[in-house]
Each structure stands twice: as C-alpha cells, then as structure tokens.
C-alpha cells in the first residue's frame, strides 16, 4: 500500500513556505540593479504590469494544476500526454543544477557569519576591507579550465553545512520539515529585512541612493527591452516554471484558497524586491557620499551584499562589537533567504521523483542531496566558482527556464483547459478571477514569454560571438554540454517504468 500523501497543516504555513521559496538572494542583488539600469522609477510601470499579467496568473495556474494532479512536475506533464513527461524531468532538473551553485553562494553567507562573530569578539578586523576576505575565499584560477588552481577549502567546508541543512529539513516532508522551518524563519527574515531598510533609510546620503533608484526616465518606457527585462525579473524572481510551485500546490488541501494565496505570494515577493531595492540603494548612497565611490563600484551582483554592506557597516559605527553583531544579523538574513529557496528546489525534484519511483522520501532526499553535493564540489573549485558558475547560470536562466515556462503555459492551456483551471482555482478562494485570466494564460503570457525567450536567445548568442576562443570553448563545454547532460539524464529517467500502486494500477 502507498503511504498517505502529506498536506500543509495550515494556510499560514503554506504561504510562508511559498514566500520563502520565492524570496531569495536574487531579490537583493538582481531587482535593484534591473530597476536602476532600466529607467529607474519608470521601471515600476512594466514591473507592475508584469506582476498582474504574468506572475499572478502563472502562479494560479501552477498551484491549481499541482493540486489537481496531486503530484510534482513529471506527473503534471505526464498527465498532459505520455511524451510530455520528458519536459517535466527537464523542469525539475533545473532547480537541482541551480542548487549546486546556489548552495555555494549560500555557504559564503555562513562564512561571513563566522567572520562577523570573529569581528565581534575582536579576533579579526575585516569589515573595512571585505575584499581581501572574499579574495581568500573565492580567489584564484586563470580560466574555466584551470582546475589545477584547486578547490576553495572554505567553500567546500561550508557548502557541506548548507546541504546537511537542506537534507535535514526536506527529508522530514512538507508539514514536519518545510512548513515548520518556514513558519519560524520566513517571518524572522521579513522582520530583519524591514529593520535593515529602516536603518539604512536614516543613513547620511540615503537620499542620493533613493534618487538614483526612483527618479523616472520615461524616455525608456517605449523601449521593448525594458518590458522584456521587467517580465524576466518577475518570472525568475517568483520561482515560476521550475516545478517548485507545482510541487507546493500539490500538497494543498482540496478546499484551500488558490487565488488569494497566489496574490499574497507574488505581492510579498514584490514587496521584498522593493525593500531590497530601498536597502541596497540607501546603503550605496551612503557609501557614495562618505567614501566617494559610485553606484556601480561594487558590480551588480554578490559584490553588493558581500563587499558594499560590510564596508557600510564599518563606516556606520566605530564600535567593533556592534559592527560584528549587525554583520552577523545581515549575513544570517542572507542565509535564511537562500535556505528557504534551496529547500523548495530540493522539494521540487523530490516530489516529482517520489511520484514515479518506489523509494521512501528519506532515502530519495538522501540520494539527491549526495548528487547535489558532488555538483557543489565542482562549483567550489576556483575555476568552477569564478568562471563556470556564470556560464551555467546564463545558459539555464537565458535558455531553459523561460522556454520550459512557455511550454508549460501552452500545454496546460491546450491539453488540460484554462477554463477548468479558472473554475477550479475560484471554487474555494477568498475572491475570484474573471475570464480575463483565460486570455492572459492562453495568449498574453505565452506571447510575452515567447518574446522573452527570443530576446534571451539573441542576447546570449550575441554575447557568445564576442568571446575569445577559450571562453567560447568553455561556453560550449559547460553551457551547452550541461544542457545536453540534463537532457540525457531526463531521457534516462523518462524511460524508467512508473511504480505500481496497490499492485494493480500504474500511478500516472
């Protein structure tokens, strides 16, 4: 006999878990610079349109369809037609590969937490010069093939902790693992981030940063590139099309709300985008005023979190105990933001694989964690972290996620029926969505996702042609090679037989 399927014990638990999955490190360093580069305050117009016309409808679609099939992505796609199961496997491969390098980035926040404790206790004094610490952790390697540079012992040691944390939470299932963890840590993360925002708003020079972020440049609004950037931002930020929300939706009770939960998840994530934007640019404004750097001095990625913030903390106060304590809280926030997303990625694959194979959850999560950790070892090498990580990230987010999202919206609309999704979603919801939902899912979202896919393909292709031969070789091997490897693994899993339920019927 098969075991009874787990369900979310409370609505609050589900919402916190979904918000935790959507909120990640990308909110902190992707959104602020997307807005800054694409028209400042004017970016909020396409961003808001994208939230209501793409993110919310697709979230409703994923929750509803997940709940309907009571399974993860492979069962969801297999229900549309046997041949589409392969696409489900591709979809759940994405979060596992992303997690291989994402967990390495999370491990840096743990390393910085340890260093912050050291700073607080007066053992090391590093906050005014975080670059040297960062160099010690990730520095080294000449190019993507320079594996002789070795592996970072810091990344390797701490990425084990990240994988153990993920494994411990996800192996306990939805209600006893993910829900319990999310109900404690996600509210804590929200409180800490709001506190950081309020504190950074009081800094001298914060106004400079807010002006840079919010001053609108409406001349850019007619540029299609801004609209594509807004749709991409909303799409990636809400963790759509990677099987996470289908898996989370599959554990919803049949009489639970879908529509309002989707609005709450997407708007909470957007709120976090906004909080992150204000925090990052207030801090950068403070640094611009006090140290004379400019807004692009720390790059537009991890450099802001791991370099700009420690410098800002060390400039705010001369009390090293306080500096270390603020640093500890900040990097702990990053750790929670990363962990709440990474557990959802591990759950996406686990839910899907548990539907097909007769393996118990604890063993399955153990296997996936071991494979994921081996991948993380690869990204902990100096060549892996400094060169290959970007290549893999660009190929997965540039080519794969939006393409799979496009297929998902089209296939579910045409094979299952978008009206069925709408009626199902509306049945027990606090408020209902009208028939415009059908148009958004059937025509509008696929059109804009198609446009985003084409733009991304052209963009990535253009950048590839500008590379030197060695970089080109690295792109082909690690970028396209990685995608081919994912396709092969998906084919192998696709060809395996479905488990038999009660010795009689095939589950799917």
């Amino acid at each position: 006999m098969s075991e009874k399927r787990d369900v979310w014990k409370s609505r609050r638990g589900f919402i916190f878990a979904a918000i935790g999955a959507a909120i990640g490190l990308g909110n902190l360093w992707r959104f602020p610079f997307q807005a800054y580069k694409n028209g400042g305050g004017a970016f909020f117009l396409p961003y808001a349109v994208a939230l209501f016309t793409c993110a919310i409808p697709l979230m409703i679609l994923e929750y509803t369809y997940g709940r309907r099939v009571k399974g993860g992505s492979i069962k969801a796609f297999a229900n549309l037609g046997k041949k589409w199961e392969w696409l489900g496997w591709i979809q759940v491969m994405i979060p596992i590969v992303v997690m291989m390098f994402y967990s390495v980035i999370i491990s840096i926040s743990i390393i910085f937490m340890v260093w912050s404790v050291g700073h607080m206790l007066g053992i090391v004094n590093w906050m005014s010069d975080p670059g040297s610490i960062m160099g010690m952790i990730v520095g080294g390697g000449e190019n993507a093939f320079d594996f002789s540079a070795g592996v970072s012992k810091y990344l390797l040691s701490f990425v084990i902790i990240v994988w153990i944390a993920n494994w411990l939470i996800v192996r306990n299932g939805i209600s006893n693992g993910i829900e319990k963890m999310s109900k404690v840590f996600v509210p804590l993360l929200i409180i800490m981030m709001i506190s950081f925002m309020v504190k950074t708003l009081t800094l001298d020079g914060a106004v400079l940063g807010l002006n840079a972020l919010f001053t609108p440049d409406f001349s850019k609004i007619l540029n299609p590139g801004i609209w594509v950037a807004a749709y991409s931002q909303v799409f990636f930020s809400t963790t759509l099309a990677v099987g996470v929300m289908i898996a989370y939706g599959s554990y919803l009770d049949d009489k639970s709300d879908i529509v309002n939960n989707s609005f709450i998840t997407v708007l909470s994530n957007a709120s976090f985008d906004l909080i992150a934007g204000i925090t990052v640019f207030s801090t950068l404004g403070f640094l611009v005023k006090t140290t004379g750097v400019d807004f692009n001095s720390f790059g537009n990625g991890a450099g802001v979190a791991f370099i700009a913030f420690p410098i800002a903390i060390s400039t705010m106060t001369s009390n090293t105990v306080l500096q270390g304590f603020i640093g500890l809280l900040f990097f702990f926030s990053l750790f929670i933001a990363g962990l709440s997303s990474s557990i959802s990625m591990l759950e996406s694959f686990s839910t899907a694989a548990l539907d097909k194979f007769s393996i118990d959850r604890k063993t399955m999560v153990g296997y996936i964690s071991c494979v994921g950790f081996i991948g993380s070892v690869f990204f902990s090498t100096y060549a892996g972290f400094n060169y290959i990580l970007d290549i893999v990230d660009v190929h997965i987010s540039g080519y794969l996620i939006t393409t799979v999202g496009l297929f998902e919206a089209v296939l579910i609309s045409y094979y299952y029926g978008v009206e069925k999704i709408r009626l199902d979603a509306n049945e027990y919801s606090d408020f209902k969505v009208g028939k415009s939902f059908n148009i958004l899912i059937k025509y509008f979202s696929p059109f804009l996702l198609g446009l985003t896919v084409i733009t991304n393909y052209i963009d990535v292709f253009k950048k590839t042609t500008e590379l030197d031969p060695l970089q080109m070789k690295a792109n082909l091997l690690f970028g396209w090679g990685g995608l081919i490897l994912m396709a092969i693994a998906s084919t192998v899993f696709f060809l395996k037989k479905w488990k038999i339920k009660d010795d009689k019927e095939v589950v799917v």
């Binding site: 305050g41 919010f214 609005f263 709450i264 709120s271 906004l274």
Partner: protein
C-alpha cells in the same frame, strides 16, 4: 529627494504594499 523620485517611490510602495495588505485583509480570520 526630487519630486519624480518621491512620486514613483510612493506609487511603487502604495501599489505593491497596499495590494498585499488588501489581500491579507481578505483572508478569513479563522484561517
């Protein structure tokens, strides 16, 4: 802060946070 930035920041915050508060307000009290 300049006027344009104040207006856009207000619109951004009010629409997103206002929307979220509205949705949370719609959740029945006993859930």
């Amino acid at each position: 802060m300049n006027t344009g930035a104040i207006i856009m920041m207000s619109i951004g915050c009010l629409s997103i946070w206002g929307g979220l508060i509205y949705c949370l307000h719609k959740v029945p009290k006993n859930k």
